[in-house]
């Protein structure tokens, strides 16, 4: 068995003395792990940083074996942001959430394209809103999409101001006013407005954290990344704390 694909490095775990088991999100083969011989070496360590874009060649005798990767760096995303704490937190969180939420070896071209777009952003100011939208697209790809097109309690798509934590559907300002304390406030950047504040980002992260905890991480694939049912990965928890602090919560 052999294939070649492009991928994004999600994680690298030491294996034995020199090798590493690397998990990639590939364009056509989904989340896929493989052994990288010499993966703990000096040259390989910069290649295997989370978020890096690589060209991958995977080989195994049988399809269900772990197999081994030969990787070439296509773009070093992580190295560009070593001085930017916010972006490092977003990269770490995106990779941890992807690794913990996606099933193995199931092609998810939409999630891959979204993550590649996020990691390829060069304007630091766009990272946070695009990240929140990427998590919403991830929820959608996993079958738990939010419906922000129209009000859940009848009416059209005008003046949407809330999201129901139970159904994930938008609610208009008028219909939601009596339940203000029970609904999530819908940040306007999720409806297409071109502006946002740290408060909006924190609110967006709260919304996606709620639905990820409730639907995706309730039955986690990885016990290592998620200590308890419903918990978010540690990197995602740190990201949430980061924006809550910035928003003055």
């Amino acid at each position: 068995m052999e294939w070649t694909d492009e991928g994004l490095v999600l994680s690298s775990r030491p294996h034995g003395e020199n090798a590493a088991v690397v998990t990639l999100l590939t364009a056509a083969h989904g989340r896929h792990a493989g052994m990288v011989h010499g993966g703990q070496g000096r040259a390989a360590r910069s290649l295997l940083q989370p978020g890096n874009h690589v060209e991958a060649q995977w080989r195994a005798r049988l399809t269900d074996q772990l197999g081994s990767y030969t990787l070439d760096l296509a773009e070093a995303q992580a190295a560009l942001w070593l001085d930017a704490p916010e972006i490092l937190a977003l990269i770490a969180s995106a990779c941890a959430v992807t690794e913990a939420s996606l099933p193995e070896r199931q092609p998810m071209p939409g999630v891959y394209a979204g993550l590649a777009t996020l990691l390829g952003l060069r304007d630091p100011s766009l990272w946070a809103p695009v990240y929140v939208k990427w998590e919403i697209s991830l929820l959608h790809a996993l079958g738990y999409g939010l419906d922000l097109s129209q009000c859940a309690s009848g009416g059209g798509g005008d003046d949407l101001a809330y999201i129901s934590p139970r159904t994930g559907r938008a609610v208009s300002r008028e219909a939601g006013a009596p339940y203000h304390d029970k609904l999530f406030i819908l940040p306007s950047f999720l409806l297409g407005s071109g502006t946002w504040t740290d408060e909006d980002i924190a609110q967006g992260l709260e919304i996606t954290a709620h639905f990820l905890s409730r639907h995706v991480f309730i039955n986690p694939h990885s016990r290592l990344l998620i200590p308890r049912d419903g918990d978010l990965p540690l990197a995602r928890q740190r990201l949430r704390a980061f924006y809550q602090k910035n928003a003055g919560h």
Partner: protein, 197 residues
């Protein structure tokens, strides 16, 4: 039941960098030179196991607590260099370019391995930065996502104390040729460029 010879070979093969064949070669060599190699080695290992301890101030390994580096009066107590592990401390000492004090963190924040701030010696670092007349804390952590995430976290905690927080530069290694550098290092070097002349 393993013979003493096999048992020793198996124990040695558990060490990093040593496979079963190397372990057997080492066993044969030691048995051939018992007086010159094996007994001195046994003696050194016993003494190291009994006497080497972790310094409760900086986390270094040494024969005393506090360690030789913490008690060395010729070192500048206003400079504190934070490193991930004792191996990194030794690397800094080999270079002979730093004459301040050290703080061994004991790892980096890692989502993958579940390492949280409470698992590292961060509280001790904050206490030292607060109490000991420290003016500058140098974050000598690895240029990896985890290393730099930890560095940013530490900077966030240290700045309110009022100490100057710096980190090691990222970029071209001495003797490095552009043609042979990986893209990540080259990108970091370009971003950290400085005025020439």
């Amino acid at each position: 039941m393993l013979s003493p010879l096999d048992h020793l070979a198996r124990q040695l093969a558990r060490l990093p960098g040593i496979g079963p064949r190397s372990a057997r070669r080492m066993v044969l060599h030691m048995l051939k030179k018992r007086e010159g190699v094996m007994y001195p080695l046994i003696d050194s290992m016993t003494r190291a196991a009994e006497q080497v301890k972790e310094c409760t101030t900086c986390g270094n390994l040494g024969g005393s607590d506090p360690c030789e580096l913490c008690t060395d009066r010729t070192r500048d107590p206003t400079l504190l260099c934070v490193v991930e592990s004792v191996a990194d401390l030794w690397a800094m000492e080999r270079a002979r370019v730093f004459r301040g004090r050290y703080h061994v963190l004991g790892g980096t924040l890692s989502a993958l391995d579940g390492v949280r701030p409470a698992d590292l010696r961060i509280d001790k670092l904050l206490t030292r930065a607060n109490d000991a007349g420290v003016k500058e804390v140098i974050l000598a952590l690895n240029a990896t996502v985890e290393g730099q995430t930890t560095a940013h976290y530490l900077a966030e905690r240290l700045v309110p104390i009022g100490v100057s927080v710096t980190r090691l530069a990222h970029g071209l290694p001495v003797g490095g040729e552009l043609d042979h550098l990986d893209d990540g290092t080259l990108a970091a070097a370009l971003l950290a460029r400085r005025q020439a002349g």
